[in-house]
Assembly symmetry: C2
Homo-oligomer: 186 residues x 2
DNA sequence: CTCAATATGATACGACTGTTTCACTAACGG
DNA sequence: CCGTTAGTGAAACAGTCGTATCATATTGAG
């Protein structure tokens, strides 16, 4: 009895809120402007998500979900060599279309440094790559449980992304990845 | 005639404000709590610095100054080899005492991604290292104007710092740097 | 229709923000 | 003493923030 709930509305709002956060960043996020951009009201955002904190959590989860999906879709699992795979990953993640994700990624990291209590599973964002990358780089890794190679590979990617987002010098970043591939090959 | 100005007071406030920002981060910085912690008033902060924005700029400049000084003091310029130099830099910058600087560094980067207009010379934070590192790694660099080697070296350092600040796994980060040194050596 | 549950607008609350205004004191030169 | 300039406390201003309250639709079941 009574009016039936409409979960589709909440999910539609979540999708559009995620678009908004990817476009505008997490830093100055505020309910009233967000609601205005989404043709809704702060009242409804709180009604659907309970609090701003929970809304942000939902948005970050959705953004992660999207990123993982896109990555799975666009990376052929049967790359010719570890080097090819590394180049594929770099080409995908450094593409301009990924810039909003990368930006959000760095924002969340910085916020986590200031407020670690809000990110209980922050280490997972790092170690989650090990399974995938460990298998990919098994040729150059010391063994199946080697976490050092994935750590270094991801450090290069993240470090170059940091550089790229700061300077915008794509050519230099690309060539630095070439250099790293060269080092791995020998 | 009239009371003479006392520039020492402003500088003392700047020093203690920098301590505070290094300890508490940039994100939620607000004048009233800052003033309370510094035994002064928002009124005086604005009197001395004009606006919050200018105060933040002054604090960031002071933090940069301190970091550069500490680095210059603690790194022997006559390291035995490029590898030794790289290890020195890593040991210095990844030490727990540097954590506040590293945190502020990542915070500023993230804020710069959201508000580039506030950081007109943001690329300098990256390219400023080239002169120093280019000379240091001249043995393995392609030439005196090689910017690729410094780019890759700094990417590894920043990427590993990112990992270390997120997971706290120092051992793994140290070993990843070992692996990178190994790759450079061969 | 009645009842019940969801959805939603309008508005208010209290706490905060950076900044300004007004008044006042402190320290100097003449 | 006076005049001038620097320093400083108290309070107010106009705004934003997340959130809570109250009322009112809306949409179903019986």
């Amino acid at each position: 009895m009574g009016r039936p709930p409409d979960p589709a509305r909440r999910e539609a709002t979540l999708a559009r809120a995620t678009d908004y956060v990817l476009a505008h960043g997490l830093a100055g996020l505020s309910l009233r402007p967000l609601a205005a951009a989404l043709d809704t009201s702060p009242r409804m955002l709180l009604y659907d998500f309970g609090s701003k904190q929970e809304l942000v959590s939902a948005v970050l989860a959705e953004a992660r979900r999207r990123g993982a999906t896109r990555l799975a879709e666009n990376l052929p699992a049967d790359a010719a060599s570890p080097e090819e795979h590394l180049r594929d990953i770099w080409a995908w993640i450094s593409a301009p279309e990924r810039a909003p994700f990368v930006r959000l990624f760095f924002e969340v990291h910085a916020d986590g440094l200031a407020h670690p209590e809000n990110y209980p599973d922050r280490a997972e964002a790092i170690t989650g790559w090990f399974q995938t990358l460990g298998a990919t780089f098994r040729d150059i890794a010391a063994g199946p449980d080697d976490t050092i190679t994935p750590t270094l590979v991801m450090a290069v990617i993240r470090g170059l992304l940091f550089d790229l987002t700061t300077t915008g010098d794509r050519h230099r970043a690309d060539r630095a990845l070439d250099r790293f591939c060269e080092l791995l090959r020998r």
